[in-house]
Subunit: 335 residues, 2 copies
Amino acid sequence: MSYTIKDVAKKANVSIATVSRILNAQSGYSEKTKIRVLQVIEELGYQPNAIARGLINKRTHTIGVLFPKLSSSLVTDLLDGIEKAAGISGSSVIVCHTEYNGEKTLKYLQLLSEKRVDGIIFASEVLREEYYQFLKKSNIPIILLSTESPSFSIPHVKVNDFHAAYSAASYLIEKGHKNIGMISGNKEDMIAGKPRIEGFQKALADAHIPLSEENVVYKKGFSFPDGVEGLKELLKQFPSVTALFAASDEIAIGALSAAYHLGIKVPDELSIIGYDNLNIASMSIPPLTTVSQPLKEMGETAAGMLFKLLETGKAPNSILMPHQIIERFSVKERI
Amino acid sequence: MSYTIKDVAKKANVSIATVSRILNAQSGYSEKTKIRVLQVIEELGYQPNAIARGLINKRTHTIGVLFPKLSSSLVTDLLDGIEKAAGISGSSVIVCHTEYNGEKTLKYLQLLSEKRVDGIIFASEVLREEYYQFLKKSNIPIILLSTESPSFSIPHVKVNDFHAAYSAASYLIEKGHKNIGMISGNKEDMIAGKPRIEGFQKALADAHIPLSEENVVYKKGFSFPDGVEGLKELLKQFPSVTALFAASDEIAIGALSAAYHLGIKVPDELSIIGYDNLNIASMSIPPLTTVSQPLKEMGETAAGMLFKLLETGKAPNSILMPHQIIERFSVKERI
DNA sequence: TCCAATAAGGTAAACGTTTACGTTCATGCT
DNA sequence: AGCATGAACGTAAACGTTTACCTTATTGGA
């Protein structure tokens, strides 16, 4: 197989302790033996065994990331940031795809725990009681990303969905709109659902715009089809609508598509603002005005927090990342 | 810290060997001790240490995946499939993001090698000589995904780009088009660039359609901006064009967008066919006709091949996956 | 009754590192 | 000269498993 530290030691006529010290840049050897050992390492192409190291050091330099789904650029931008931060810290990341499935999630947590990952980032999904109990028992450090836990005190990084939704609605109001609708995702979703709805409603209320049940339609998810159906329903229950806040970019793009087929011109007849700033937002016709979450930075920040936590042992503070309205061409001033 | 096999053994009044045998479902113990040990395991919440196992078994049940970039659904669909197959086989996947950077790639290979991953999937990128030498030296099993190596004999799974491009162009021809243009990606790219161009050209030639340098514009990449610029250039050098083959869906969507701004109606005045069948292809206006690569299945297949290789030790055959034309609404028959 | 075979279980080495502790030797100081 | 000190190493235990090999008791058959 491959060479071990013993082979190096033997060939260089030193003990394995010396080789180890040299590898770890500790003291306790002369310059002469150092270059001799280094040369032997080079000759043999010796590679230290991270498994053996992990066994004794109790650090695997590996973290686990749990995602509900993979095939959305929302999630991959987060992953992108995590991977970047991990790379800088010399760690690797194991991705786990839970599919919102509790059993699968628990199985993955078990797996990660057995593999002795240094920590876990739990992203875009509600942290259920059972998960928390498991994590607590096996005391693996954890950071919540793009989600938060109302019941348990766990550090998280996300944007303030309430505020962001408030901003989006306010933006529409500033543009002169009064008949403003919303297509929301799952309203049972305490993270991405409810806060956005409430932020939207608060903005209208603060602007003294009358608000009834007709203003918002509730869909099950945040996907493209939810958007196309959503717009049709909204039009039915709120025909005078002139501006729309979509709870996700996919919903917004769906609405855009439905509007096109219904012959409704965006933004001339209907203004649309999305949420997320996925890369598809800039590719739509017209390019989508949306509220942007700094996804990659969020991933980086979460991973950074985790590594700091691993070093210091101190629980870091949660971080709320700034959102931002990206003005493109799907919203028009109403005069 | 957490409990070890010793703790279990002591509490159950057996030796660690017996516990190990029970954990691995081997023989050599009575039913009575088995349930006793299992109960102790339950009580303590004992979790076997995969690191220690890996050290002695020389199997980490972890594979590495190298991607040039993460933020494209092309890549994440592949990853999705890989992760799925890995989950079924009880393995985890470490993702590495190379950014087409040779140094970074080598560093990642080194890392994966030190972590003693069981195997590597190298995706969507050219396998350079240096990578190959490294892999060969540390003899880690490897599968190429959505790429192939002309020089080295390494099993791969991909679609036949030449054929797929040929099909796309033929489809346009069948629809009655004669003035057919192409926006290609990087023509130096021996995997996704050149073969698609040649497939396109062959289809036109076989149909006896005259073909000159004006028919195709060459861009640096496969992205949205390449598509919008690409269409403008194509229109300039080939004004009579009625149908367009885009070397990627992002290019196609870019062209769609440019066409919209130029007031060119798709598909009435210009037909467009894409390549990849990303999820955005179904969200565009109009929904994009495209040639589909079964990305998720390709990922699954690649991982499956890798696991079979690990079991049997035999190099598997390369697999060419079928492509398929997904008819949506961006191509119109010309009468 | 005795022996071989089998079931049930234990002992200890091995995997490839790190590291606490011990040893040797040269050096400098009094 | 004698001694403390520090540099430059070596030895061996430890990390948590798996497994080859050994031991003991039981059973069935001749």
